[in-house]
Subunit: 366 residues, 2 copies
């Protein structure tokens, strides 16, 4: 339980006109309570109200996790036939008839939602994503320190992996080696995402899954990876040359590097997310590659790999101190190759600090 955060949540619920917040085992639940649950076929829901301790509906076998905590617990047994009654008892205990129970549509599954709805049929369930993200988006010093450690682990792991990269090894083999190095350098086993290792034409797909394609001379090699430390994540990308490249490939790498620099330099408190996106995008657009930068410039990082703020050209949300996010412009030439260079920055009182410092220049590997 993080009592300070629970107090902030209570205040936030009151000003948002919400009577309660219902969460499943989501990152927001971890943020507010420190409690980790598996999300599986057994529904687990926590209901927060402004004036009472959290109410938890969970399988009996999870009881040891909450023993001694200041929570109201409604456990259920293994037979699903009994679960709805437990949800009804839990919601009934909170006097929420006709009230507004906020939910997080990005995390809550239809499984939990239908139990909640049947247990509180007179309630509305508005999107309350902002209520929690407004708290989560401002990282305190401890949170920034954890992200910094996660960046450090990721960078050390990649530096240890680079000398092992050989022509002929497959994307999957390189990804597995990188994961081992991440663990060796101290990442928690639950990583933010499985590393993307994509080569040659596969690198034109920003979300490629590592394949059995072997590294070949002339390839661009995109590595998008991150570590987890004390529950916070890093998310970096570097693009390498496997042997000699074509001039256009060197050119798009240089452009993406310039766009990355422009994005990092633009970030400061008081300007909209869109301005950071625009700074990076303009570099690529002016060189005639705008159509090949097919995603936003970045996304927030913290407990999750993707969270607020989103660095999109339509997002007028203003940057504030403590916001941490990626700067990751890219150019993707379909069927040919791709480049992405990604750093992690945090907004300070006066500008932005870049937490990652691995060289961005084109390095030759293999």
């Amino acid at each position: 339980m993080n009592l300070a955060r629970l107090a902030q949540l209570s205040a936030s619920l009151r000003t948002s006109g919400l009577d309660a917040l219902a969460l499943n085992p989501s990152p927001s639940l971890v943020y507010l309570t420190g409690l980790h649950f598996h999300m599986m076929e057994r529904p687990m829901v926590a209901v927060f109200t402004p004036d009472a301790p959290p109410t938890l509906i969970l399988p009996e076998l999870e009881l040891p996790k909450v023993e001694g905590l200041p929570v109201h617990v409604f456990p259920y047994g293994e037979d699903p036939a009994g679960w709805q009654a437990v949800f009804r008892a839990a919601l009934g205990s909170l006097n929420l008839d006709g009230k507004r129970i906020g939910v997080e549509p990005r995390a809550l599954r239809l499984l939990e939602f239908r139990y909640l709805q049947a247990a509180a049929p007179s309630c509305a369930f508005p999107d309350a994503s902002e209520v929690v993200s407004r708290l989560r988006v401002h990282k305190d010093a401890d949170e920034v320190a954890a992200i910094r450690r996660a960046v450090h682990i990721a960078q050390s792991a990649l530096e240890a992996t680079i000398p092992l990269i050989k022509i002929g090894m497959t994307e999957k083999e390189l990804a597995a080696e990188l994961v081992m190095q991440l663990l060796r350098h101290g990442s928690q086993p639950e990583m933010p995402f499985a590393p993307i290792v994509s080569t040659g034409p596969n690198s034109a797909n920003p979300h490629a899954t590592p394949s059995d394609r072997p590294l070949q001379p002339g390839d661009l090699l995109v590595v998008d990876w991150g570590a987890t430390c004390d529950g916070y994540i890093s998310d970096l990308t570097r693009t390498f040359a496997v042997g000699d490249l074509e001039p256009e490939e060197e050119k798009i790498h240089r452009l993406v590097q310039e766009a990355n620099t422009a994005g990092r330099l633009a970030a400061r408190p008081g300007i909209p997310c869109a301005a950071v996106d625009q700074a990076a995008r303009t570099v690529i657009e002016q060189a005639g590659y705008g159509a090949f930068f097919i995603h936003r410039t970045g996304h927030g990082i913290g407990i999750e790999g993707h969270e607020e703020p989103y660095i999109r050209n339509d997002n007028m949300q203003l940057l504030e101190p403590g916001m941490a996010f990626t700067i990751e412009p890219g150019i993707y030439l379909p069927g040919r190759n791709g480049v992405r260079i990604e750093d992690n920055i945090v907004i300070t009182e006066t500008g932005a600090e870049c937490l990652s410092d691995l060289p961005r220049e084109l390095r030759v590997v293999g």
Copy 2:
């Protein structure tokens, strides 16, 4: 695209009285299409109807993944303001007014559901989990072979880890070492779950998260781990002695081992899941520890770590050839210690084959 499975799905939709099935990036989507998408703030939905190619609603940046596939694609850009219209166009193209669109409540999030519901307000969205799980629950020879490989990788990784276990190392350190060995022995980086390594009183929590607690003489040590191979998973548990144990700890280990054997021997086609649970449970109940076996005896495995069939004492579903699941009885003495022994079996025409063969006897480590 797996055309044979899509044809099975079409037949299954028809006999289930469903006009369509809507999936988000779930294991069932992987099963039917082989397509992997990240589940994040951008909703991705595939709609299957009996007579047409699948309709995919997805972010533009995912287009490279579906290029050339026999699908109808409705891509959307980065600005969420435009997403609902794309959902409306996609659903509109399918003539589903007033029809029944099945969903998987365990996978579908409120995010995707609300876009679907707003795009097809006259439709019903019944729970169609069974329609896909009925297909997925029967593993063919290739699927069993993949699970077998995942078991083999997991066993080899644990055998390589055991000699490294030392008194004083923490649960987290042991978990990290095990993950490294899993990768070294060929597991895909996306593992079924982060290994559980729990010692002493922590082992009384079946779903413990590895902590900084160091291994101490006299501890019971529970290791619950698995590997992924070709998209299929294994899920095993062994319990070790760190030095000498108390007589009761040796006794509960022996009981759990006997319960595991009883469960494995009971499994065969034609009997209900409940009978397997009962066979394992009876051993523990008759010894007076029934109250401390606080979960079901097992769960199905395949693409997911938890899927049908569930080996619960209220589940009268009959076992059939090709069903693959865990047998994992346990005894948990709150505040003191716990034991679990878990194997992976598959139902054959005449009985059951146990895919895991790591010794189950109490081994002393450290």
